[in-house]
Protein backbone atom coordinates (compact mmCIF):
# COMPACT_ATOMS: atom_id res chain seq x y z
CA UNK A 1 0.00 0.00 0.00
CA UNK A 2 1.26 3.35 -0.97
CA UNK A 3 1.67 5.95 1.77
CA UNK A 4 0.10 9.36 1.34
CA UNK A 5 2.46 11.93 -0.22
CA UNK A 6 4.90 9.16 -1.21
CA UNK A 7 4.35 9.97 -4.86
CA UNK A 8 5.00 13.69 -4.34
CA UNK A 9 8.20 12.96 -2.31
CA UNK A 10 9.44 10.83 -5.17
CA UNK A 11 8.82 13.73 -7.58
CA UNK A 12 10.53 16.09 -5.22
CA UNK A 13 13.65 13.90 -5.18
CA UNK A 14 13.64 13.71 -8.97
CA UNK A 15 13.43 17.48 -9.24
CA UNK A 16 16.41 17.90 -6.85
CA UNK A 17 18.46 15.38 -8.79
CA UNK A 18 17.67 17.16 -12.03
CA UNK A 19 18.57 20.46 -10.41
CA UNK A 20 21.93 19.14 -9.27
CA UNK A 21 22.60 17.65 -12.69
CA UNK A 22 21.76 21.00 -14.28
CA UNK A 23 24.14 22.80 -11.92
CA UNK A 24 26.94 20.33 -12.67
CA UNK A 25 26.33 20.68 -16.39
CA UNK A 26 26.27 24.44 -16.10
CA UNK A 27 29.68 24.29 -14.43
CA UNK A 28 31.04 22.05 -17.20
CA UNK A 29 29.62 24.17 -20.01
CA UNK A 30 31.52 27.09 -18.67
CA UNK A 31 34.63 25.24 -19.86
CA UNK A 32 36.39 26.39 -16.72
CA UNK A 33 35.97 30.02 -17.66
CA UNK A 34 33.62 30.81 -14.79
CA UNK A 35 35.01 33.49 -12.50
CA UNK A 36 36.38 32.43 -9.14
CA UNK A 37 33.56 32.16 -6.62
CA UNK A 38 30.93 30.81 -8.98
CA UNK A 39 32.09 27.28 -8.28
CA UNK A 40 31.71 27.77 -4.56
CA UNK A 41 28.22 29.18 -4.86
CA UNK A 42 27.23 26.50 -7.37
CA UNK A 43 28.72 23.84 -5.15
CA UNK A 44 26.85 25.21 -2.15
CA UNK A 45 23.55 25.13 -4.01
CA UNK A 46 24.25 21.62 -5.26
CA UNK A 47 25.37 20.65 -1.80
CA UNK A 48 22.16 22.02 -0.33
CA UNK A 49 20.17 19.86 -2.73
CA UNK A 50 22.26 16.83 -1.90
CA UNK A 51 21.87 17.41 1.82
CA UNK A 52 18.16 17.76 1.40
CA UNK A 53 18.12 14.30 -0.17
CA UNK A 54 20.36 12.90 2.56
CA UNK A 55 18.97 14.70 5.60
CA UNK A 56 15.43 15.57 4.59
CA UNK A 57 13.99 19.02 5.08
CA UNK A 58 16.35 19.90 7.91
CA UNK A 59 17.93 23.37 7.83
CA UNK A 60 21.07 22.23 9.67
CA UNK A 61 21.37 19.29 7.29
CA UNK A 62 21.09 21.66 4.36
CA UNK A 63 23.71 23.92 5.84
CA UNK A 64 26.12 21.07 6.46
CA UNK A 65 25.49 19.69 3.04
CA UNK A 66 25.86 23.15 1.61
CA UNK A 67 29.24 23.55 3.25
CA UNK A 68 30.45 20.22 1.93
CA UNK A 69 29.07 21.01 -1.50
CA UNK A 70 30.75 24.39 -1.35
CA UNK A 71 34.09 22.79 -0.69
CA UNK A 72 33.55 20.37 -3.53
CA UNK A 73 32.51 23.20 -5.83
CA UNK A 74 35.56 25.15 -4.79
CA UNK A 75 37.81 22.25 -5.62
CA UNK A 76 36.12 21.57 -8.94
CA UNK A 77 35.72 25.10 -10.31
CA UNK A 78 37.29 27.82 -8.18
CA UNK A 79 40.78 26.40 -7.97
CA UNK A 80 41.33 26.15 -11.73
CA UNK A 81 39.96 29.67 -12.10
CA UNK A 82 42.18 30.94 -9.29
CA UNK A 83 45.17 29.15 -10.79
CA UNK A 84 44.44 30.75 -14.15
CA UNK A 85 44.16 34.16 -12.50
CA UNK A 86 47.38 33.54 -10.60
CA UNK A 87 49.17 32.56 -13.83
CA UNK A 88 47.80 35.63 -15.62
CA UNK A 89 48.92 37.86 -12.76
CA UNK A 90 52.35 36.23 -12.81
CA UNK A 91 52.61 36.69 -16.60
CA UNK A 92 51.60 40.32 -16.17
CA UNK A 93 54.24 40.80 -13.44
CA UNK A 94 56.87 39.14 -15.65
CA UNK A 95 55.98 41.44 -18.55
CA UNK A 96 56.16 44.47 -16.24
CA UNK A 97 59.54 43.33 -14.98
CA UNK A 98 60.83 42.87 -18.54
CA UNK A 99 59.63 46.35 -19.48
CA UNK A 100 61.26 47.80 -16.37
CA UNK A 101 64.56 46.02 -17.10
CA UNK A 102 64.56 47.21 -20.70
CA UNK A 103 63.78 50.74 -19.55
CA UNK A 104 66.65 50.63 -17.04
CA UNK A 105 69.01 49.25 -19.70
CA UNK A 106 68.10 51.99 -22.16
CA UNK A 107 68.42 54.63 -19.46
CA UNK A 108 71.87 53.34 -18.49
CA UNK A 109 72.96 53.40 -22.14
CA UNK A 110 71.69 56.94 -22.57
CA UNK A 111 73.39 58.05 -19.37
CA UNK A 112 76.66 56.53 -20.57
CA UNK A 113 76.32 58.27 -23.94
CA UNK A 114 75.67 61.59 -22.24
CA UNK A 115 78.60 61.06 -19.86
CA UNK A 116 80.95 60.27 -22.75
CA UNK A 117 79.73 63.31 -24.69
CA UNK A 118 80.22 65.63 -21.71
CA UNK A 119 83.67 64.22 -21.03
CA UNK A 120 84.62 64.53 -24.69
CA UNK A 121 83.56 68.19 -24.79
CA UNK A 122 85.33 68.94 -21.54
CA UNK A 123 88.59 67.26 -22.62
CA UNK A 124 88.55 68.98 -25.97
CA UNK A 125 87.86 72.42 -24.53
CA UNK A 126 90.57 72.06 -21.88
CA UNK A 127 93.05 70.85 -24.45
CA UNK A 128 92.21 73.76 -26.76
CA UNK A 129 92.66 76.22 -23.87
CA UNK A 130 96.06 74.71 -23.13
CA UNK A 131 97.04 74.86 -26.78
CA UNK A 132 96.00 78.49 -27.12
CA UNK A 133 97.73 79.36 -23.86
CA UNK A 134 101.07 77.90 -24.94
Amino acid sequence: MTRPHEGSRSWSKKIWVMGIAALVLAGCEGGGTAPAGVGTVGGAVAGAGTSRMLFGNSTSGMLIGGAVGGLAGNMMLDRPAEERQRQQAQASRDADMQRQLEFERQRALQQEEVRVQIEEDRLFREWQRERLGT
Binding site: R115, E120, L123
Partner: protein
Amino acid sequence: MVSEAEFGRDAAAGFSTLDKDGSLTLRPEELGPHDPARFSRIDTNGDGVLTFSEVMANKIRALEEGDKNKDDGLSFEEMVQSVEADEGIGQ
Protein backbone atom coordinates in the same frame (compact mmCIF):
# COMPACT_ATOMS: atom_id res chain seq x y z
CA MET B 1 92.54 67.42 -44.72
CA VAL B 2 92.31 66.87 -40.97
CA SER B 3 93.07 69.95 -38.92
CA GLU B 4 94.70 69.96 -35.51
CA ALA B 5 91.33 70.82 -33.88
CA GLU B 6 89.64 67.89 -35.64
CA PHE B 7 92.50 65.70 -34.52
CA GLY B 8 91.89 66.86 -30.94
CA ARG B 9 88.13 66.36 -31.15
CA ASP B 10 88.60 62.83 -32.51
CA ALA B 11 91.07 62.01 -29.76
CA ALA B 12 88.72 63.39 -27.08
CA ALA B 13 85.90 61.20 -28.40
CA GLY B 14 88.14 58.12 -28.33
CA PHE B 15 89.50 58.93 -24.89
CA SER B 16 86.11 59.51 -23.26
CA THR B 17 84.73 56.32 -24.80
CA LEU B 18 87.64 54.28 -23.44
CA ASP B 19 87.46 55.97 -20.03
CA LYS B 20 84.75 53.65 -18.70
CA ASP B 21 85.07 54.69 -15.05
CA GLY B 22 84.99 58.40 -15.86
CA SER B 23 88.26 59.03 -13.99
CA LEU B 24 89.62 61.23 -16.81
CA THR B 25 92.56 58.88 -17.00
CA LEU B 26 93.07 55.67 -18.91
CA ARG B 27 94.32 52.61 -17.07
CA PRO B 28 96.00 49.81 -19.04
CA GLU B 29 92.93 47.60 -18.41
CA GLU B 30 90.71 50.15 -20.09
CA LEU B 31 92.77 50.06 -23.27
CA GLY B 32 92.42 46.38 -24.02
CA PRO B 33 95.32 44.66 -25.82
CA HIS B 34 98.12 47.17 -26.36
CA ASP B 35 101.87 47.58 -26.58
CA PRO B 36 103.22 48.25 -23.04
CA ALA B 37 106.31 49.96 -24.45
CA ARG B 38 104.13 52.45 -26.34
CA PHE B 39 102.01 52.98 -23.21
CA SER B 40 105.16 53.81 -21.25
CA ARG B 41 106.34 56.28 -23.90
CA ILE B 42 103.03 58.16 -23.72
CA ASP B 43 102.86 57.99 -19.91
CA THR B 44 105.53 60.65 -19.52
CA ASN B 45 105.18 61.09 -15.74
CA GLY B 46 105.21 57.31 -15.24
CA ASP B 47 102.19 57.15 -12.92
CA GLY B 48 100.73 54.14 -14.73
CA VAL B 49 97.75 55.96 -16.23
CA LEU B 50 97.33 58.16 -19.28
CA THR B 51 95.84 61.62 -19.01
CA PHE B 52 94.30 63.34 -21.99
CA SER B 53 97.19 65.82 -22.03
CA GLU B 54 99.68 62.98 -22.31
CA VAL B 55 97.66 61.35 -25.08
CA MET B 56 97.34 64.62 -26.97
CA ALA B 57 101.00 65.50 -26.56
CA ASN B 58 101.79 62.21 -28.25
CA LYS B 59 99.23 62.76 -30.99
CA ILE B 60 100.33 66.33 -31.72
CA ARG B 61 103.90 65.11 -31.97
CA ALA B 62 102.73 62.51 -34.51
CA LEU B 63 100.71 65.15 -36.35
CA GLU B 64 103.68 67.51 -36.59
CA GLU B 65 105.93 64.72 -37.78
CA GLY B 66 103.37 63.64 -40.35
CA ASP B 67 102.59 67.15 -41.60
CA LYS B 68 105.28 67.14 -44.28
CA ASN B 69 104.11 70.25 -46.12
CA LYS B 70 103.60 72.19 -42.85
CA ASP B 71 100.05 73.33 -43.58
CA ASP B 72 98.90 72.59 -39.99
CA GLY B 73 96.90 69.53 -40.96
CA LEU B 74 97.17 66.01 -42.28
CA SER B 75 96.09 65.06 -45.76
CA PHE B 76 95.03 61.49 -46.49
CA GLU B 77 98.41 60.77 -48.09
CA GLU B 78 100.26 62.22 -45.11
CA MET B 79 98.19 60.06 -42.76
CA VAL B 80 98.95 56.92 -44.76
CA GLN B 81 102.68 57.77 -44.79
CA SER B 82 102.59 58.51 -41.06
CA VAL B 83 100.93 55.20 -40.23
CA GLU B 84 103.32 53.29 -42.49
CA ALA B 85 106.30 54.97 -40.82
CA ASP B 86 104.86 54.26 -37.38
CA GLU B 87 104.27 50.61 -38.20
CA GLY B 88 107.61 50.26 -39.97
CA ILE B 89 105.89 49.35 -43.23
CA GLY B 90 108.00 49.68 -46.41
CA GLN B 91 111.19 50.30 -44.51
